[in-house]
């Protein structure tokens, strides 16, 4: 039986029990001498539906999580004895062959008799598991339905219970956000720890040499692999720095112009247009940086006799800066608008011009908010992936020359994790260590920035 069939059955049961509960309440209420119902019939229906469906869904979810390990265990137990000594990887491989064979994947049709036999075991175990699940859920449904059905009575406070259940569902939903953060942290940390068992934290954070190519054979040249991440941090900072040099002044000035000088008409048109810039997918910026800006800068460099790499940090940083302009400008715009008009009026009253007011009153008053906005922009620049993957280089150069090609943390994560690789090598795991650093740094920047912005808002509210 397919899992989706079971899910549909549960959904059908929910609808059915809602209608049944509602109908029952109406019928009971229509009897002569029945006291007035505490709750509307719909709440009795919802109560019945919740009672039947929620426990079933829990069991179903648990089953879905546990079933694969049960199947795997029963298949591996049924394999002939020569597999008893096989390593975990070999067993996984065999198990995947069995599954591919069952699912009729075209690459797995010529397999040994052992696998074919194991496939039969797999199919049988799967059938058993599903059948058991169906019976279990069916039994539970009948039992739960009976219990809840008998409770439907005039004095029964169905509404309060249903509302409580809905509230718990809301609380559960709000936990997802927390779980996501924990999930990110734990999963990345877990893989990173496995990496740090092979390479020391100190070498990783302070090493000056990055060449993650570990060799396949032991005797190959340069087989050790070096995991000093300083060149990556340097490259990331260089590119983010260039991006901020573009985005901070342009974005800030644009925000000042829009909020202080522009006529409402211009503002109405210009602001959404800037926001279009923010809505353009980063892969498009990457395409642009790689195909238009990179070659353009290289051409300019050639004509000036400057050695500009076609993957120069300058080009990448410029395009990334343009991407961040609307981010900076819309955040600063909010911040500047939050400065009370009375401060401006006071300044004008003393005879200051508009620009003097902006520079000496509005900006200092808005400074914490602007700093927060810039910090968020920096965090964005550091974590930006597609632009650098498409337009920045792969070789880790430790340089501050913006005309050179550099690589970044995100580029390395993508290169290390796309393509075929075994999952336990230091090379693959190093991507998670880089991811951990990236997550922690952006987390720090975000928390500081959000706090600064929030305090600033409260100050003027």
């Amino acid at each position: 039986m397919e899992l989706s069939t079971i899910l549909f059955a549960i959904a059908g049961l929910a609808a059915l029990s809602y209608v049944a509960g509602r109908q029952r309440a109406i019928l009971v209420g229509a009897r002569d001498a029945a006291p007035k119902f505490h709750s509307l019939p719909g709440y009795h229906g919802a109560y019945l539906a919740f009672w039947c469906v929620l426990p079933l869904l829990l069991v179903f979810a648990a089953w879905v999580v546990l079933e694969p390990s049960f199947l795997r265990a029963s298949v591996l137990a049924a394999l002939p004895s020569e597999f008893a000594t096989a390593s975990g990887d070999e067993l996984s491989l065999t198990y995947n062959q069995v599954r591919n064979f069952v699912e009729g994947s075209s690459v797995a049709q010529n397999v040994s008799a052992d696998i074919a036999a194991a496939a039969d075991v797999y199919t049988a175990a799967l059938d058993n598991s599903r059948l058991l699940l169906a019976w279990l859920l069916g039994g539970m449904a009948v039992l739960l339905f009976a219990i809840a059905w008998r409770r439907i009575a005039p004095a029964f406070r169905a509404r309060n219970l249903v509302e409580k259940a809905i509230e718990y569902l809301f609380i559960a939903a709000s936990l997802v956000a927390i779980l996501t953060t924990i999930g990110i942290f734990v999963s990345v940390l877990f893989e990173a720890i496995r990496f740090f068992q092979q390479v020391s934290v100190f070498d990783f954070l302070f090493g000056l040499d990055w060449s993650p190519q570990t060799a396949i054979r032991e005797d190959q040249v340069g087989s050790s692999g070096a995991f000093g991440a300083v060149p990556l941090f340097g490259g990331t900072l260089l590119i983010s720095g260039i991006a901020m040099l573009v985005a901070a002044p342009v974005g800030l000035m644009a925000a000042i112009y829009l909020s202080e000088y522009a006529s409402p008409r211009l503002r109405n048109y210009a602001k959404p247009m800037l926001e279009i810039l923010a809505g353009i997918p980063t892969v498009v910026y990457g395409y642009f940086a790689a195909l238009t800006v990179g070659p353009l800068l290289r051409g300019v460099g050639d004509s000036l006799n400057l050695p500009v790499s076609s993957e120069s940090a300058l080009g990448v940083g410029l395009v990334m800066g343009i991407m961040i302009i609307p981010f900076v400008s819309s955040l600063s715009d909010d911040v500047i608008n939050a400065v009370p008009q009375s401060l401006r009026d006071g300044s004008y009253g003393l005879g200051a011009t508009q620009s003097e007011t902006i520079r000496q009153v509005v900006l200092p008053a808005a400074l914490p908010g602007i700093v927060g906005a810039l910090l968020l922009a920096i965090s964005r620049a550091i974590g930006e992936t597609m632009i650098v993957v498409m337009a920045a280089g792969l070789s880790a150069n430790l340089t501050v020359n913006p005309l050179d090609s550099v690589t970044t943390v995100t580029v390395q994560i993508v290169t290390l994790l796309t393509g075929d690789q075994e999952f336990d090598s230091a090379k693959t795991l190093s991507a998670f260590a880089l991811g951990l650093v990236l997550f922690l740094v952006t987390l720090l920047l975000n928390v500081i920035a959000l706090n600064v912005v929030r305090r600033y808002r409260e100050q003027y509210e």
């Binding site: 999963s187 112009y257 395409y287």
Partner: protein, 433 residues
């Protein structure tokens, strides 16, 4: 006394002139900054349209095809299964050979045949399989057809390959150029609508490559994202805004959500890889996994927008409902939520648009594969529109440049459509209390 007064006036006047000058400069700088942003936007769209619009049409060549019975149906029994296996590309080659009978040498013939796409044979096959059941005598006839040319031919015709440069620097040989020019001279070359771009999957032959498979993959992913993140986001927002008491726990959730909104997208990809794929064993490349990752990313956006929509509903609505005896849950679900829903939907659409344009986390979960077939379900291997752009952007062929730009334009059109819907929704349901 008068003297120092006028002196003062002059000094103040000079100061004012200087200050006004600063004022103008500052203002001009602000305007310049705005222009820089807008100019880039213009430059951006200009470049994309200028390089992308040519992908809408592609070259077809008029060839006289002879449906030879000995090639198509040697047994003569009109068995469709056998005809399907026939060498249709051979018919195209024969037609080219008849058009240029002077080409006899082996390498030259290969160059000649390379002018036409493999797709030409497929088109012939479809035509024959379509006609033969109703008209068995179709085999043996001759007709003139506009058939698909190879990408290099297309590039020459469109002028993207410079005919003037030296042969060694060109992808197309002098001989091929001569044939193309001969075909052009007698009107046998034309640009027609590029249907493969809109209906095809990925292909290593640029002239057959299309975005349909990626579009369907993106669609499945968005459906999964929407189904997960909208109910979760709205429920979280309702809880935080309407039920939760202000304490350290809700503060933590709030900080956490704001922070999640700013976590780099690639980190979500790492989560997807290590949790969904390595731990739960979900399939790589499946839109379901992509949708899961994207919904975790979109969730904070939807929560923040939904909370803003809920705060915008005035307390008087709640008070009125509570005053006539509604419970808190009834107040929220029957009165506050319907009023806040347009705002929530606007935020959701904007979140969806962002998810549609996202590609970095999808690279992490292996959605960079070469997908030819259109996926049938969210569990099939698929790719997404922005990932298709990424894959094509890495390819060296000139023909993929125009297709990348065109694919970007399609992606931007979708995004524009979504954002426009959000704006209209906001305009239509905007209330002032």
């Amino acid at each position: 006394m008068t003297r120092s007064n006028s002196d003062l006036k002059a000094r103040v006047g000079a100061g004012i002139r200087r200050r006004y000058w600063h004022e103008r400069v500052f203002r001009a700088l602000g305007f310049g900054a705005l222009l820089v942003g807008l100019a880039f936007l213009g430059f951006f769209f200009y470049t994309l349209i200028a390089t992308g619009y040519t992908a809408l049409r592609q070259t077809r060549v008029l060839l006289e095809i002879e449906y030879r019975a000995e090639t198509l149906d040697p047994a003569g029994n009109r068995d469709l299964a056998e005809i399907r296996q026939a060498d249709f590309q051979g018919l195209v080659r024969d037609a080219l050979q008849r058009r240029f009978p002077e080409v006899t040498e082996r390498n030259s013939r290969r160059e000649l045949f390379a002018l036409m796409s493999e797709g030409a044979g497929l088109e012939l096959r479809n035509r024959v399989l379509d006609r033969v059941p109703g008209n068995p005598d179709f085999i043996g006839t001759t007709e003139s057809l506009w058939l698909l040319a190879a990408a290099d031919t297309d590039m020459v015709v469109k002028g993207h390959i410079d005919r003037a440069v030296d042969e060694s620097l060109r992808r197309v040989s002098d001989a091929q150029l001569g044939w193309i020019e001969a075909l052009e001279a007698d009107g046998s070359v034309a640009l027609r609508f590029n249907k493969y771009f809109f209906t095809g999957g990925n292909s290593s032959d640029p002239e057959l490559a299309g975005i349909w498979a990626a579009t369907v993959g993106s669609f499945y992913m968005l459906i999964v994202t929407l189904a997960l993140s909208f109910p979760l986001g709205v429920a979280t927002a309702i809880y935080l805004e309407e039920f939760a008491r202000k304490n350290r726990w809700t503060d933590l959730i709030e900080v956490n959500i704001n922070n999640l909104a700013a976590v780099p997208s690639i980190v979500f990809g790492l989560l997807g890889l290590s949790l969904f794929i390595n731990t739960f064993g979900l399939p790589r490349q499946a839109p379901v996994v992509g949708g899961l990752v994207l919904s975790l990313m979109t969730l904070p956006v939807i929560i923040i927008a939904s909370r803003a929509a809920l705060t915008a509903v005035p307390p008087s609505i709640r008070d009125a409902a509570l005053a006539v005896g509604a419970s808190r849950m009834q107040t929220v679900l029957h009165h506050v939520l319907p009023l806040a829903l347009p705002g929530m939907l606007t935020g959701t659409i904007i979140g969806m648009a962002r998810a549609l344009g996202e590609s970095a986390p999808l690279l992490m979960i292996g959605m960079v594969a070469f997908i030819v077939d259109v996926p049938d379900s969210p569990l099939d291997a698929a790719t997404a529109l922005p990932v298709q752009v990424y894959l094509w952007a890495e390819l060296p062929e000139r023909a993929f440049v125009e297709r990348t730009s065109a694919a970007i334009l399609v992606l931007l059109a979708f995004l524009l459509l979504m954002n426009l819907t959000a704006v209209l929704l906001r305009k239509r349901f905007e209330r002032r209390y």
